[in-house]
Amino acid sequence: MGFNSIDDLVTEMTGGKTWRQDFSKIYAAGNVYAAGTVVAGRWYDLTGYGQNEYVHGNYVFNGHMNAGLAGWTVSSANVSWDAVNTAASKTGASAETITQNTDCVNGTTYEVIYTIAGYTGSGNVVISLGGTNGANRTANGTYTENISCGATANAPLVVTFPSTLSAGRVDNIIVRRLLAFTPYTDAAKGREAGIWHGGNVSGDTKHLTTVGAWATAAVGAGAVLYLVDLLGCYPRIQTNSASSQSLDNTLTLPRYTDGKGVRAFYSLSTANGANAQNFSMSYTAPGPTSGRSLGAVVANTASAVTGHMSHTGVAAGNFAPFLPLSGGDAGIVSVESAQFSAASAAAGFVDLVLCKPLVALPITTAFLAAERDLLTQLPSLPRVYDGAVLGLIVQAGAVVTAGTQWQGYVEVAWG
């Protein structure tokens, strides 16, 4: 278990127990986040930016169909991948379907969002979950439905194209259980968000040995890139409500189940508009000790940038990168409720994310790799658990322009 000497580390690594993974995150509008004008000093959640863009809480794999139709079963060759629009495209005169099994639960309501484009012909396009149909759709548009999952085995999400639809596309499929904790693992929900780390090593323990990253433009430097294990999220907390919003904890932490070392941040999934508001939440600390409140008044900042962790920044009451816990609390087991002190001007939403911080990389200069040897330079060898979903958040050091990238790599070893 682990390494008991440098010799042991050498033995394990040269024996093949190691993995290296490159990554690239591009600050640019995509399917999930819209980018916008970054403000220096604020933190941003890179989960929704390419590569590996992911909508927090999505139960569906490859919902944006960025790389073919992996994860989807199509009824015939009349449904194919449209590379230009990155969508599932239907042609021909037969009724067709695309299907993906989910682990949604019979009788539970989920928000289902999808986009129809290129609608040509006639007839009803229908999306269903577990056998329960949503509304009939007969035109292009992005539709949101609340569907109580039916009893069909494996809770399939199915999009049905009618035979009378001569051509059409479907894209950007999102299935979320609002306000309910959605755990992330690298083999199920959330796996798209993660930097791959070599798979399960049960019996051994895996550790980060080296991490490096660099920015491809000066505006990407003066930044801090933070590698975290994304444990899951509570999707879509309303910012235009001053009421307490109860959070569901039917599903629990997938790793660090005692909550020790677990931290929280939230990021905008829909811009919230201007208004002065504070954020509070009630959580359970390790112990477990329930009914805990944040350790300070946290000021939420209005922002037009999705992905902005809007409790961070340089204003009074901002805390970064993680929400401040009550004195003496060493982590979070679960969050029971969240509340803004006033309603925001616009109907914004945030995703409240639980994570385990692993390593921070200060990026000083464009093109200069910030590298951390976690064995001898910063001896810590942070553990990477089976199933970990390694994600990135960043503190901007400048007004980051669209197209700026943070590239890098992680290297792990196990033994």
């Binding site: 010799d7 690594m13 190691t18 690239s24 590996n52 590379a83 490096g212 433009a217 200069l368």
Partner: protein, 282 residues
């Protein structure tokens, strides 16, 4: 038999005849662009330039002795990269990040104006990392191009499944040796072509499709990244030890063709890049 103790580096490696140190000197002839990865295997100097010559669209391998030489075959021993030193006498290069790659195969003479799929021929499995795990791809210009077009590749992943890559936008650097999929505009990527979410590598590539004419010719190169290094300043060499400073001990397989790619801060034309690479085995 793999390296199992640090003392073996000295006893069996440096003092036991199981070690090799190569020098390299690359002086790129062509301009490059900040933020666009550039392939140094094609740059003049030593080891000699690789011009990606071969049968059109057919997987072609490189002779390992023509890259950064690492001491030849050592099987059944295991060879690792121990140390790299890089320096440049030109401020135009630094700061810059380098990657040392094992070049596994390439598909030459891709016409980037063709918008139909160009199907590849694969006469044999990859010579190393044949299961595809950890194998990446990049598209490098072998003739000048215009850029600004997206492309996808159709490939067999590490589990033998057919997959399609997300569209990658080519840069407008226009110069030979530029890695087309990298750049600083929305839609461009890093050094490597992004793969489908569930792919951990590439066994083979079946074809490439441009979604719009791009201009120029290119080669699709399959590589296994081994190490990343950054050159910090022009006044001093940068040096890394892959045991004590970066405990990663990249294994170098028999027959490996080693060379570098670089993400420069500006044009590296006529900028000498020199260095040393040291390998040990046990």
């Amino acid at each position: 038999m793999a390296l199992s103790r640090v003392r073996q580096i000295s006893e069996e490696g440096y003092n036991g005849g199981n070690q090799w140190e190569s020098s390299f000197r690359k002086v790129p002839a062509l301009a490059s662009t900040a933020g666009v990865w550039t392939d140094l295997s094609s740059a003049p100097g030593n080891p000699k330039p690789n011009y990606y010559t071969g049968t059109e669209l057919t997987a072609t391998t490189l002779d390992g002795t023509t890259g950064v030489f690492h001491g030849g075959s050592v099987s059944p021993k295991t060879k690792v990269l121990h140390r790299v030193l890089i320096q440049s006498t030109s401020a135009g290069v630094v700061p810059a990040t380098f990657q040392l790659l094992d070049y596994l195969a390439f598909h030459p003479l891709i016409d980037m104006d063709v918008t139909d799929e160009q199907e590849f021929t694969n006469p044999a499995p990859l010579p190393r990392y044949a299961d595809g795990v950890g194998v990446k791809a990049f598209l490098v210009a072998t003739n000048p191009y215009i850029g600004g077009a997206s492309f996808t590749i159709r490939y067999t992943d590490h589990l033998g499944r057919e997959r399609v890559s997300p569209p990658a936008l080519t840069n407008t650097s226009t110069t030979i040796t530029s890695i087309l999929n990298s750049g600083r505009v929305a839609g461009a990527q890093g050094a490597f072509i992004p793969l489908a979410h569930d792919s951990r590598g590439i066994r083979s590539v079946q074809g490439i499709t441009f979604l719009a004419p791009n201009g120029g010719l290119a080669a699709l190169v399959l590589v296994r990244p081994l190490a990343t290094m950054t050159m910090t300043e022009v006044t001093a060499p940068s040096e890394w030890d892959f045991i004590a400073m970066k405990p990663t001990l990249p294994v170098v397989q028999d027959g490996a063709y080693l060379n570098f790619i670089v993400c420069p801060n500006g044009s590296i034309a006529a900028a000498p890049i020199t260095g040393l690479a040291s390998f040990v085995w046990s």
